[in-house]
């Protein structure tokens, strides 16, 4: 009996040990990748940001000189301004439109899935093809945008050639691909239990009351997730400006990442570009933390009903 129990115990311990070993073996590729492609490069870029390095020449430790240079560089501040414009005007508008679209295609109408498809498909277009298409749409003489303006009796605009219009034009273009966010919000809407609406209707709540007291609160987790991901993405806006305007006109679309790319891969100022990368990282990190802090006030998770 005694030997049986010890052998069972040993077997049990062996199983646990095997499970533990296999657990680490299975996550090993990710763990290595995390160390090689995330932690390592992050620390390395922090180090590089304290050096002067043009790749071909040996790197020289310069302390915080790159950061000092960065903060006195007008073009850096301009690129930060342009990016903030795109983030803080573009993202909320984009999310709002996506919410409207999600509410619209959540209606119980025959053939609604056709509308869902129609709203979603534009968001599938690759950003390069998208950018080339929209250069043509914004073409001052032969483009669709100005054809429309003339059709309703207004004059044409120099969308991408006018420094005041270039950023709004890129934001308008981004509305074309609200489909991606729309479907995530739609999935959130579908996850709201029908019984809640039924109960509210019995209590005499009208459409607006149901929307304001049920739909919106229960959708806040999906809205929050979309907002975080969209803001992080929008801080790294690049391709549209790289292809459509090349940062112009008069640097109106010189976004942060475009300026970083030019510093690193056109001027080979690796120290300067790394300092830029770390500043952006800190900005995004601070924003994400602030949003998580603020989320207590407006994001509603089922199961933590507040009194």
């Amino acid at each position: 009996m005694q030997t049986l129990v010890t052998s069972w115990r040993r077997r049990q311990r062996n199983l646990l040990w095997t499970e533990c070993r296999d657990g680490y073996l299975f996550i090993l590729p990710w763990l290595l990748g995390f160390l090689i492609f995330t932690v390592g490069p992050m620390l390395a870029s922090l180090y590089i940001s304290f050096t002067r390095w043009e790749i071909v020449t040996p790197s020289v430790w310069v302390g915080h000189a790159q950061y000092a240079k960065l903060f006195s560089d007008d073009r850096f501040w301009l690129s930060l301004y342009n990016t903030s414009y795109y983030v803080f005007i573009g993202v909320p508008l984009h999310l709002f439109m996506a919410l409207l679209a999600a509410l619209a295609v959540n209606m119980n109408l025959r053939g609604i899935h056709l509308y869902r498809t129609a709203y979603y498909v534009p968001s599938l277009t690759p950003v390069v093809a998208n950018s080339i298409l929209w250069i043509w749409i914004f073409h001052p003489e032969w483009g669709l945008a100005n054809a429309f303006l003339e059709w309703i009796g207004l004059g044409g605009l120099y969308w991408l050639q006018d420094p005041r219009l270039a950023k709004p034009a890129l934001i308008i273009m981004s509305f074309w691909s609200i489909g991606g966010q729309m479907v995530i919000l739609l999935a959130g809407l579908k996850g709201i239990p029908v019984t809640l609406y039924e109960a509210a209707s019995i209590d005499g709540a009208n459409w607006w009351g149901r929307f304001w007291r049920i739909t919106l609160p229960l959708l806040t987790p999906a809205l929050f997730f979309n907002l975080i991901i969209a803001i992080i993405g929008a801080f790294q806006v690049f391709t549209q400006a790289f292809i459509m305007t090349d940062g112009g006109p008069n640097y109106a679309t010189l976004f942060y990442l475009l300026y970083l790319y030019r510093s690193a891969f056109e001027n080979f100022r690796m120290g300067y570009a790394s300092a830029m990368a770390w500043v952006l990282f800190v900005i995004v990190l601070v924003f994400t933390i602030v949003q998580f802090r603020l989320s207590d006030r407006w994001v509603f998770y089922e199961g933590d009903l507040r009194q």
């Binding site: 095997t18 499970e19 533990c20 296999d22 657990g23 680490y24 299975f26 996550i27 590729p29 990710w30 763990l31 990748g33 995390f34 090689i36 492609f37 995330t38 490069p41 992050m42 390395a44 870029s45 590089i48 619209a104 609604i112 509308y115 129609a118 709203y119 498909v121 599938l124 277009t125 690759p126 950003v127 390069v128 093809a129 298409l133 749409i137 032969w142 054809a147 074309w176 479907v183 995530i184 999935a187 959130g188 579908k190 996850g191 209707s201 987790p221 999906a222 975080i228 992080i232 801080f235 790294q236 292809i243 990442l257 690193a264 891969f265 690796m270 990368a277 990282f281 994400t288 089922e302």
Partner: protein, 282 residues
């Protein structure tokens, strides 16, 4: 609850259809404009107001665009990158997710939190050192920088999606197999993966789209034209034919078309993927 008279419901429905259709048309117009331009003669692209239906319809814009630059090579390059990157993603992300979902080991929860936090990491902060490492390895202008990182975990978000799915599979299946003497890898390979076809297909589809559309990474890592992907090739085409809008629209259509085909054949995987990522907000 009062129910409205039936005719009133019909009027409301009609009103909503009108609104929905208005926006559907507005969103469809750029695509119609794209295809319409791609079938026009050069002269007809420069008409104001624009002609929506090309006359004559110039199908030869497509072969012309494809002959102008080596699109077949770009297509083949992109296909190879997509294939190998997706394979690595599916394998290593599902392995990690299996461990996080179904094995007990020390530090499992903190490590998974680490996975989740990297979803929010702006990739730019790792770009320059990664570029320098690949440069030291002489991997610049090869496909390796676009493929190899995906064999190390396959992206945090994919690990998350796999884990979400694996947690819905009853644990009894693992235990039954374990009693039969199956190793953890065997359980993963023979029990779990065959049950996970929906999530495998979903992640394969999204990985395809991601690598097909990716512009920034190929721009940084691929230099000589024979290594270009479709995305970079399209940009190169633009630089050569910047005033021939009909040819540019034909080339753009050719890049979009495979995605539309994929969407219509794999629609249910799109839906399930979106529902699962919707869970991320919960």
């Amino acid at each position: 609850m009062k129910t409205a008279p039936r005719y009133l419901n019909r009027i409301w429905a009609g009103f909503w259809y009108l609104i929905l259709s208005f926006f559907a048309v507005a969103l469809a117009l750029p695509l119609v404009w794209l295809v319409s331009t791609s079938l026009k003669t050069g002269g007809q692209t420069f008409l104001m107001p624009p002609k929506w239906i090309p006359d004559p319809i110039v199908w030869t814009n497509y072969p012309d665009a494809f002959r102008a630059v080596a699109f077949h090579e770009y297509f083949w390059n992109t296909a190879r990158i997509v294939f190998f990157a997706t394979a690595g993603t599916l394998l290593t992300a599902s392995l990690a997710a299996y461990a996080f979902a179904r094995l007990r080991f020390p530090l499992r929860e903190p490590l998974f939190l680490l996975v989740l936090s990297t979803i929010m990491l702006p990739s730019i902060v790792t770009l320059i050192p990664t570029f320098i490492v690949f440069r030291t390895l002489r991997w610049i202008d090869t496909f390796l920088p676009l493929i190899v990182p995906l064999w190390f975990g396959g992206g945090a978000f994919n690990i998350f999606l796999f884990r979400q799915f694996f947690m819905t599979i009853p644990l009894e299946l693992d235990e039954a197999a374990r009693i039969d003497g199956a190793s953890n890898f065997r359980i993963y390979w023979v029990v779990i993966l065959p049950l996970s076809q929906p999530v495998l297909a979903t992640i394969a589809v999204f990985s395809f789209i991601h690598h097909w559309n990716d512009f920034f990474q190929p721009l940084v890592y691929l230099q000589s034209p024979e290594n270009w992907t479709m995305a970079i090739g399209l940009l190169g085409f633009r630089d050569l034919y910047s005033t021939q809008w009909n040819l540019m629209m034909a080339a753009s259509t050719a890049m979009i078309l495979p995605l539309l085909v994929l969407f219509f054949f794999a629609q249910r995987y799109f839906v399930s993927g979106i529902q699962m990522s919707g869970l991320a907000g919960r």
